[in-house]
């Protein structure tokens, strides 16, 4: 098997420039593919981290409207609901108004109960619970601003919660890690927000409930919404996963656009590589004849052409994907505020590799078929 590699490799470099340019265009194509996939993950990656057993309850009309605090107890009482975490959007920024933060006010104990996958030390957790002005921050945003546990930082805000001033002083009590999730969040205490705000007192933005059994989700959602039907503040409940997915889709049919661009690129690459392979085979008609006289069967020659094509695409593709991986890692801190989840995930790399193989096979298919069908005698005469 590997004994043929020297022959195949030598064949690729027959026309050095042509091989170099084909490799480079494949590299560029897969670099683009990698970047697009990182962008796609940035938009939709959060859906993976969202859990099946969490229920999201918001105001029926729009999430922008809030709900009465009294709803909390009623939702907690619904059978099948384990924990309920009330949440209020704060938003805000730190030092630079143009770099908005994702600050959310929550009830700390309930929050940790509903999101058990959040990794944080016991010590930090308890410190947060007992400090009204305390916040926990995600490791990525902490790294970006150089925050450490114990820091006192001022957060600023545009929603006119306070009568005077818009600064909220908070203390960083913990840094958390959310594997595969968004590590740019900042969570403050609901009490701290509520006691200082001049409107919306006692109300919550939305509620996230953790259920005993994910299978109960549709039933419980219906039950909750029925409870508040025909009240001044009707609710809408659904799975958190669906909500996150819908939110990503709100930004647009970005997925469609990304796929379309990727497809255009792939298609062009197919033609470029296919043409290179076709040229390569056409030039070697007599050589293919010679191989067949030496005893290489039709099938053997076909394999040689396909593997040569694969070598080309795998080399270029692997280089392009590798470069994409490096680039996205380098770019990540710079785009973190806009796209917190910008990275090239493992499954996209795998998909890329599969595509290089498919590209190699597709580009080599017609030339390989031609090589297979070449009659020895004609081939020796020059095709």
């Amino acid at each position: 098997m590997f004994r043929f590699l020297p022959l195949l490799w030598a064949n690729l470099w027959r026309r050095r420039l042509r091989t170099v340019f084909t490799l480079l265009s494949i590299l560029v194509a897969f670099l683009l593919f990698g970047l697009l996939e990182a962008l796609r993950f940035a938009f939709f990656g959060g859906v993976e981290a969202a859990s099946d057993d969490r229920l999201m309850t918001q105001h029926r009309m729009t999430i922008v409207r809030d709900l009465p605090g009294g709803y909390l107890g009623k939702v907690r009482a619904v059978p099948g609901v384990k924990f309920v975490s009330p949440q209020v959007w704060f938003g805000g920024w730190y030092q630079d108004e143009h770099k908005p933060l994702q600050v959310i006010a929550v009830e700390p104990e309930a929050f940790i109960d509903v999101y058990p996958e959040i990794r944080i030390t016991e010590v930090e957790k308890r410190a947060w619970f007992i400090d009204r002005a305390g916040v926990i921050v995600g490791k990525d945003i902490a790294a970006q601003y150089g925050w450490h546990v114990g820091d006192h930082i001022p957060l600023q805000q545009n929603i006119p919660y306070k009568a005077n001033g818009n600064t909220w002083d908070v203390n960083i009590r913990g840094i958390f890690d959310r594997p595969n999730g968004n590590n740019n969040g900042v969570f403050m205490q609901y009490k701290y927000l509520d006691e200082s705000r001049q409107f919306g007192r006692g109300r919550v933005g939305w509620m996230v409930s953790r259920l005993e059994n994910p299978a109960d989700l549709p039933r419980i959602a219906r039950q909750i919404d029925t409870m508040f039907e025909n009240s001044p503040d009707e609710t809408k409940s659904g799975s958190e996963k669906t909500w996150v997915g819908d939110f990503a889709k709100q930004v647009g049919n970005i997925g469609l656009i990304l796929s379309a661009v990727a497809f255009a690129v792939f298609f062009t690459m197919l033609l470029v590589t296919g043409n290179t392979m076709a040229q390569a085979v056409r030039e070697r008609t007599s050589e293919i004849g010679v191989l067949k006289t030496l005893g290489f069967s039709h099938a053997a020659v076909t394999w040689l052409v396909l593997i040569e094509s694969l070598l080309l695409t795998l080399t270029g593709g692997a280089a392009g994907l590798g470069l994409a991986w490096l680039l996205t890692r380098g770019m990540q801190p710079f785009v973190a505020t806009l796209l917190p989840l910008f990275k090239l995930p493992g499954h996209a790399l795998l998909l890329g590799l599969v595509l290089t193989v498919l590209l190699g096979l597709a580009a080599g298919a017609l030339p390989a078929a031609r090589a297979m069908r070449l009659g020895v005698v004609q081939a020796l005469r020059g095709g």
Binding site: F21, S25, K249
Partner: protein, 396 residues
């Protein structure tokens, strides 16, 4: 020997005739460049469409007044007296019904996006009776304006196209009340077409906002009055307000998103361009290689190097031009006018817009494609010029 120029014409003509036999490689370059063109047109038509709706739709004589320090309507909050104070400023235009001023409340409604099937936050605006007069190109496609004081709603045509459940005559349940869609309007493709409008006081009641508003819109007597108006309003000690022209406001609103689209667009264009260059280089080098004996013969006969270079460059340019034209045509047909929507983070609601393939976009795309083709042709052209004649004649 004929002049360099007529030699060039001859060699080029010869070259183009042999192009037919090399059509497969030539096709690859054409497709490669066409592909780049289509993608560029597609991505930048998003940018242009967005820009048309947001940046270009603002009127220079309409002012948006928000709470001091706020940059968007969502996070602003004003008391009712602010509306009166603004209305009293002399540079505000007046008509039979009073000053052209409208206090407005901005919220949103969850509707289903017909294209994605998912939920979308659609802007819902409550406006005062003078509100419609502040929309410069308002025109009703069907139905009529909502009657003040009632639960009637009118829908922008962009929103009507994108989101489900807001057709003419439909009844909607928003909050605790039922509302009726009584009209569908257009506003020269501007941002208003993404919105649902209703009466200010009715919405205030539904949202429990009391008499507070979130923004005030005012039309001035002329765009030049902006300075004076702004100074008067911002220095008034009774209120804390900020003033921005509608044009600037809309531009700011979309700045981030436009920035993202633009950067992404350039990145994609550059990368695809690189790929196309390599494809073109391949074709052109192949072209030179295929014509080695022919070029060497011409040179042996006395043709200079310059005509050969010209012939290669002409071939490259021609292929690039064909690719660009094909790509541009496909891009225009596929994208121009396609309606879509996206989430504007600053207003936390949907903006509907249409892809827009402008003449300028096609022009720049064409230039870019030609540059790609030329870059792809330069190196091979130089190689063709420097081909050693003797070995070229021997080439099989």
């Amino acid at each position: 020997m004929a002049s360099s120029f007529s030699q060039a014409r001859l060699v080029t003509a010869l070259n183009l005739r042999t192009l037919v036999t090399r059509w497969q490689s030539a096709a690859v370059t054409v497709v490669g460049i066409a592909g780049v063109m289509v993608v560029i047109v597609g991505v930048f038509s998003i940018y242009e469409g967005f820009r048309a709706t947001l940046e270009l739709s603002g009127a220079p004589d309409v002012m948006i007044i928000l709470r001091g320090g706020s940059s968007d309507e969502l996070q602003s909050g004003l008391a009712l007296n602010a509306v009166k104070i603004v209305g009293d400023v002399p540079s505000v235009m007046r008509d039979a019904d009073g000053p052209l001023v409208s206090g407005e409340v901005f919220s949103s409604v969850d509707l289903i996006n017909k294209a994605t099937g998912g939920m979308a936050l659609v802007p819902l605006r409550g406006m005062g009776p003078q509100g419609p007069k502040l929309r410069s190109h308002l025109h009703f496609i069907s139905g009529h304006m909502f009657t003040p004081g009632t639960n009637e709603i009118v829908v922008g045509q962009g929103a009507a196209h994108q989101f489900a459940g807001i057709e003419m005559g439909r009844e909607l349940k928003l909050g605790a009340n039922r509302w009726n869609v009584v009209g569908i309007f257009s506003d020269a493709g501007g941002l208003a077409e993404s919105e649902l409008w209703c009466d200010l006081t009715v919405l205030q009641g539904t949202l429990n906002y009391g008499t507070a508003v979130q923004s005030i819109r005012a039309r001035l007597t002329s765009p030049e009055a902006f300075r004076a108006f702004k100074d008067t309003v911002t220095t008034d000690p009774r209120v804390n307000l900020s003033v921005v022209s509608e044009r600037d406001y809309l531009a700011n609103l979309s700045a981030r998103l436009r920035g993202i689209i633009r950067s992404a667009g350039f990145a994609i264009a550059i990368l695809m361009g690189l790929g196309a260059i390599f494809a073109a280089l391949n074709t052109m080098y192949g072209a030179v290689a295929a014509r080695t004996r022919e070029i060497a013969t011409l040179r042996a006969l006395g043709f200079g190097a310059f005509p050969v270079v010209v012939s290669v460059l002409v071939e490259a340019t021609m292929l690039g031009l064909i690719g660009a034209l094909i790509g541009g045509a496909i891009g225009y047909m596929a994208f121009n006018g396609v309606q879509t929507s996206t989430l504007n983070m600053s207003s936390f609601s949907q903006v509907t817009f249409a892809f827009r393939v402008t003449g300028e976009l096609l022009q720049w795309g064409l230039i870019y494609a030609l540059v790609l083709a030329l870059v792809g042709g330069v190196l091979p052209a130089i190689r063709a010029a420097r081909l050693p004649i003797a070995s070229g004649l021997r080439e099989l």
